[in-house]
Subunit: 467 residues, 2 copies
């Protein structure tokens, strides 16, 4: 690996203002939003076209320089951290919405566009792109596709893999290809597109994509309900689904979350005897909302819910949602000097009661505070582990707690990572999950990585180790 | 390859009544529903458990015997035909619905269950599995997953890949693994499940699956409309989508289809000046249907539609749909002695006007009759080519027409196969599509096949040739 020659060649294929080498600026690419160890890249390249991405990757493949694709850097598991002198490929300059096509129900977009910007543009046309990770103000289309992002609307609308029709992908050899189609029905051989989605930039670099879009809901009504027993709240989720509801969102907040928020936002109060809260958005045509609400209120009462409130007023809806929006900053404030590691397990919704009990047991066992919220419509829980980054014993407990939460999810028929990805922090847990599901799959994944990337230059060491 | 030893070993791992060797019965496995050349298998094995499938495949891998998975045999491109002395693995005995779980919104089902049986069971619980290939009375869960089946509801609900959460898959080495999850959110490493879905049994044999289920529509209203110009009908589809409608179905029938049906079903009449017909199902809560219908009627009138009729009455709906249901048998009757090859292209809906014109030009060029219907909500057209199987020139024109239709779809930004698969008949067209989209993908697909199936024992020669 002759870095100086690579460096000179890169400057021949992209103009000098697209190459960053100052230490101060490189530092900005040394971490993501996770507790994973940071690492400073050797160089950052900011291509503007697929052709530039292709040329740079060809060079990297020739000179055997590791390349780490990067955009919003909101990853929560270390995916975009440039270890071992890697070069970062920053895709944020590829930030154009190329085409909104309502007749064909897609938007063609470059990967550097942020999700909120995309949805602002689509809203002007009465449409939206459903996946909505909490970081959507900063998260990009590219990062979301690479990470298999989900969000609150996942129980109704799935994750990004359900919303991408086709994409331009630069392979680790530098070859640009178009994977998938521009239609929903697409049988173009083996589904390579789905393999690249969620591969965290280890199999190819997506430069632009055709995303499926959907008409905005005609009306939304938001309900809020409290429960005296956290298990009742968890059980309510299964009852809602069994009755044929597919709410736009079902957000769960445990008592710890409510406590934190009430100390942070003075307008927020909650009944002293409540152990959990659900926020439920129902969507549909306005003519049907009254009936939907009545039916939902009945289900919630039957599940032990109380102080049920509902509204279709935008400001009132924002007020209810404040509890959820303020949760993360509230935690940071309440536990100042500490850090928060947001975990990301899923279990089938019917197993949520066991999962919330299990989280409590694990917190007690290790003496670390865990505050839990989640997108429970699909059984997705975010147990937030509070730890002291300056206390080695606290950090070591953090990793034990994270591991036990993952093992619990596996035991309950769930998964260790729902929407945050594997990165570097969850590789061991992924192996544990595959040991239960069939470890032959790990062999196949390693072989697939070698097929795509024989020189292991694209985001090496992420998702899986190829040995 | 020592077939006698394989045969003896098979009879040790599955009981004798699960092995078919009589020529009469073997004949039934020699063809599918396509014009592809038939071939008689050397043996048919009917396993009842994943373990039996695993044992048989282990033996096949050891003795290098080609194995062709099979179920409903409704394939339209030769996928399940056992060439070169292959053994058929008939999965129809694995026909149990294992679990309907409403709380977790899935059904766990063995692959031999037919789609209509599955939906009859789900309907008892107020739910359904949306993919609905035309052959759903005979087509199975396994065949649908292996073929990436779609159907009429595809424009709203996508294809099987959007409806499978996880599956038990026996790898070509005989190892059983569980791919995917039981939740929508699932980040268990690279998405091997999506790779196996649509791989036509070349990468693994699915034995049971967790399928996502959805609440039945609260109400459905069916509209029927005629157009004097086929291009207007095609254009209406884009207008419907652009206005934010996602109809449950949008079926297109050209004049040739209406002519055939009117000769077959005497109750069916159509205006003499109409060149095309659309059947549109709108679904939603009953309270909103009137408004939806009014809006849809306005769109259709604006697009040049006339004699618009709509109904929510079950019998009336069946009457309207009769035109579509009777289309295939009507063709067979009208052109007796001839055969019908149902093609399966998709184009982005905005390109439908060009596609329907193009089909007319191709039919004229070769002098073969083409009668077209399709699930046009997603741009999926089925141009049905009428040919004489006993006339070599007609058969040779059939393949030329099929090829030109595929190339036209590629030129219009579409795809050569939407829901019928590649099998043996579309391998060349797949290559043509990948030449446009990036031929490096074919290299990757071949390498992936070798990774999964190093001995090339699983449905060899289908989808792609590995050289």
């Amino acid at each position: 690996m002759d870095f100086e020659s690579f460096r000179a060649e890169v400057k021949r294929v992209v103009s000098g203002d697209k190459v960053i080498e100052s230490r101060g600026e490189l530092m900005l690419y040394s971490y993501d939003a996770s507790p994973a160890e940071s690492a400073i890249p050797r160089m950052v390249i900011q291509p503007e076209t697929t052709n530039e991405v292709s040329e740079v990757i060809k060079l990297a493949n020739e000179y055997l320089i590791p390349i780490v694709p990067s955009s919003g850097r909101t990853s929560l598991h270390g995916g975009p951290i440039p270890y071992n002198g890697a070069v970062v490929l920053d895709l944020m300059r590829m930030n154009k919405v190329l085409e909104v096509n309502l007749e064909d129900s897609y938007v063609h977009v470059e990967v550097g566009v942020r999700l909120d910007e995309l949805n602002a543009e689509l809203a002007r046309h009465g449409h939206f792109f459903p996946p909505d990770p909490a970081s959507s103000t900063a998260a990009t289309v590219g990062g979301s596709l690479a990470n298999g992002a989900g969000g609150m609307r996942g129980a109704k609308y799935g994750t990004v893999k359900d919303w991408v029709l086709g994409a331009e992908v630069v392979l680790p050899t530098g070859e640009p290809v178009f994977m998938g189609c521009r239609t929903l029905k697409c049988r173009a051989g083996y589904d390579l597109l789905s393999l690249v989605i969620g591969s965290e930039g280890t199999l190819g670099v997506i430069t632009n994509a055709y995303l499926k879009i959907w008409p905005l809901p005609e009306a939304i009504v938001r309900l809020r309900v409290y429960f005296r027993d956290v298990v009742d709240a968890a059980r309510a989720v299964g009852m809602i689904k069994a009755r044929g509801f597919r709410p736009l969102i079902v957000e769960f907040l445990d008592r710890g979350t409510m406590e934190a928020v009430s100390g942070y936002v003075k307008e927020f109060t909650y009944p002293r005897d409540s152990e959990a809260m659900l926020i439920i958005d129902l969507d549909g045509p306005p003519e049907a909302m009254k009936r939907y609400i009545d039916s939902m209120v009945n289900i919630l009462k039957g599940a032990g819910g109380y102080e049920i409130e509902w509204t279709g007023d935008k400001d009132e809806m924002d007020r209810i949602y404040m509890a959820r929006r303020a949760a993360y900053p509230a935690l940071l404030r309440l536990f100042s000097g500490m850090r928060v590691m947001p975990e990301d397990i899923s279990v089938p919704p019917s197993r949520l009661p066991e999962a919330v009990k299990g989280i409590g047991s694990i917190a007690s066992k290790y003496g670390l505070k865990i505050v839990t919220w989640g997108h429970v419509g699909d059984g997705n829980l975010h147990p937030n582990i509070i730890y002291n980054p300056n206390d080695q014993s606290s950090v070591s407990k953090l990793y034990s707690v994270s591991r036990e939460l993952g093992l619990m999810a596996i035991n309950l028929g769930g998964t260790v990572s729902s929407e945050h990805g594997i990165g570097v922090l969850k590789k061991d847990l992924l192996t544990s999950e595959l040991e239960v599901k069939g470890i032959a799959q790990l062999r196949l994944m390693k072989a697939i990585k070698r097929v795509f990337d024989p020189n292991n230059i694209l985001n090496p060491g992420k998702v899986i180790d190829i040995d």
